[in-house]
Symmetry: C2
Subunit: 452 residues, 2 copies
Amino acid sequence: MSVKALAWTSVPVAVGIALVHNALAVSLSLAVLAYYATYSFIPLVSDVFIKHGRFGKDRLKKDFPVVAESMGLIAGCVYLGVMFLFIPVPFVPFFRQQTDVSGTSGLDFFGVPMFPHETLGQYLAGLLSLFSMLFLGFVDDVVDIKWRVKIWMPLVACIPLLMVYMVTYNVTHIVVPIPFRGLFGLEKLVDLGILYYGYMAALCIFATNAINIIAGMNGVEGIQCLVIGSALLINSLYQVAITTYQSTKEAHLIAVYFLLPFLGVTIGYLRHNWYPSKCFGGDTYVYFAGMTFAVAGILGRFTKTVLLFMVPQIFNFLYSCPQLFGFVECPRHRMPQLNSETGNVEQTRVSLEKTKPLGKAMIRILEVLYLVDVERDPKTNKMISCNNLTLINLLLVKFGPTTEANATLRVGYTQLVFCLLGFCARYGLAFLFYRQDYQQGSTTETVRQNEL
Amino acid sequence: MSVKALAWTSVPVAVGIALVHNALAVSLSLAVLAYYATYSFIPLVSDVFIKHGRFGKDRLKKDFPVVAESMGLIAGCVYLGVMFLFIPVPFVPFFRQQTDVSGTSGLDFFGVPMFPHETLGQYLAGLLSLFSMLFLGFVDDVVDIKWRVKIWMPLVACIPLLMVYMVTYNVTHIVVPIPFRGLFGLEKLVDLGILYYGYMAALCIFATNAINIIAGMNGVEGIQCLVIGSALLINSLYQVAITTYQSTKEAHLIAVYFLLPFLGVTIGYLRHNWYPSKCFGGDTYVYFAGMTFAVAGILGRFTKTVLLFMVPQIFNFLYSCPQLFGFVECPRHRMPQLNSETGNVEQTRVSLEKTKPLGKAMIRILEVLYLVDVERDPKTNKMISCNNLTLINLLLVKFGPTTEANATLRVGYTQLVFCLLGFCARYGLAFLFYRQDYQQGSTTETVRQNEL
């Protein structure tokens, strides 16, 4: 689709916006527009990016073709452009002097509708944190920031978000699951106070880095983000539909407004990033995507649900720890390799001959859990090598070598299965863990606000 | 100063913050910290930037040495880091449950202090707009965005700012100067309505691009920004000191909080950028600086004062128009050139032989105004060439060739003279133009809010 066609598409969208006056419909239209824009702009700018040195080599193809890098920049810029245009939309009712505006403000002392500055502050802070990560991601792509510096970048980026959380929600209680209450002699509600802010900051650091370490194959970052983002969107839409509490509804609506255009740009990006890739997202894309989940989770008050849907990333991180923290040798690239005869991608392996006892013990534990493929010396039974400790390699070990596109799809299916399990946990197990609360009807406002 | 020393500096700053509890003192401390940080970080990252292709050649030195480019990125990142840390500071009184918090909110219906969400929204929107321009500036440095695209970028970047202006101030009246009232039969107050938002958007576009076209010599962007920023800061501090209106005071205080750390990073940057330059700021710096002035002017409600202090930039833009719009030939570089024998920089000239009559007429007008140096054929008296139409070349024409450092200083002095004239106009002429209003004591809240 050409840019000209894009311009024409925007006309019905604009008319739709003018007619519908429903923020959700506008958000959906803008998401579609964002998809078209991302899909159209990426081929237009690819050559410019390559010309200016923003390219990478596709190491899973025979001749290492050159591919434009950092295309998360286009996705991110389109996203933020669309979000900037969207900012005034939820406040249209206020400007029309109606009082059913979203936001917690109602009428002031004189019966005049008050502008919901808190809600606007939440949008702005969310966008500011998102923008910071997009920016730092691009800077990282361009000048390769050191690992020990960039791990802390989300901590600075999340300051505006946490500041606004503090002055709007400031809910820092967690509800203790029933089994733990007796076990640790805890009350039903535990106020974590400042620790809760530490937890949210940690979520930002985790979310931005987690997707980055399941990477290295065409489309693998995009497919994870598509599945996680869709799961979060469905969860929030469901919550908007069933909840009877205005504040819960508003919180989930904000998350929906952040997630819808994100899915739009992700699909547009993924169509070029899918096997065989014509563009790479770079750190720009994964940081931006991770921060979107964190922002949606914090502003929508469902951070635990975000973690639930990111179980594969948590697993991958824990699984990688022996290599990340140096107990087992960690090569520069741990991604799978191409078998140029079969055209399939295969697991890569790491030598265990110089590994110290502690590292070998870790591998042994993983071996007992059937989570690693260890090669042993047939005579001495000593460990010689094992697969690199990443989810992608594990899937290749368990299900055998396959084409790159299939290997990516396997990651996508894994993500999907865990998101479905996440839904079961969210709506099934939660009932078990908090049953008494439900039955006693004691889900007070405070309890409910921060249940999951 | 090393990074270690920087870390030690931050300790007394932190203690100062804890003790003083005065937002202005904290802002000043953070500005000093921002200066040290910028000054320390630039040499640390220069080699990394050069290694990753972020460098330019210094065309006014004999051997075109390679210099790290885009260092506005460091200035901008330090600035935003410091501003993020500063966000909670003006709201400390609220958290201490006092009611003298800055912001227009007071007590709510039940006598509980209300958080000043409007003020927080202004900070966040200002930072979001600033961040957008810093980001787009860096992207422009890396991938060279086309001129006709990037001229519109500030228009997107200023959306959050204008949105917040609308829901907080929404003052769109201007006070008509007394002489014009009779002349055009106008009322004292004219409501520009939506046009006023167009005016503010135009200010953003102008401010971000204006400094960029007085460039090309070591330190020349930095010195302009230092003088303009200082003038704006002095004006705002003076207004804070003399005003009796709480809302005017708060508006100017926000501007001070934005300007102080900006001056800090600018001085730190300028020390490396000064002749002979060890770093260049790139579009990143000038966009960031220009947007800072626009944000300070809009949130502080003194946009006309910003324009007053930017008269040299306005002059330079108007003076450049014949070349920018193609009436006179416009070479790729219009900056002065080095005379390698004398070591001085000299004006560069453009041929007028192919210039059409309209272009020649423009040059003739400038010649009559003594604003251009035209070379004529002694026999036919036809125009052969003239100096390139930039302020820098004009200063070299009027005061003769000089060293690069002196040529930069001349621009700085010119800026200083016009800022002093600006102060005279702001506090002298304004009295003449609006005298009756002053004398009648009729400066109502609306009039006063948007006087200059």
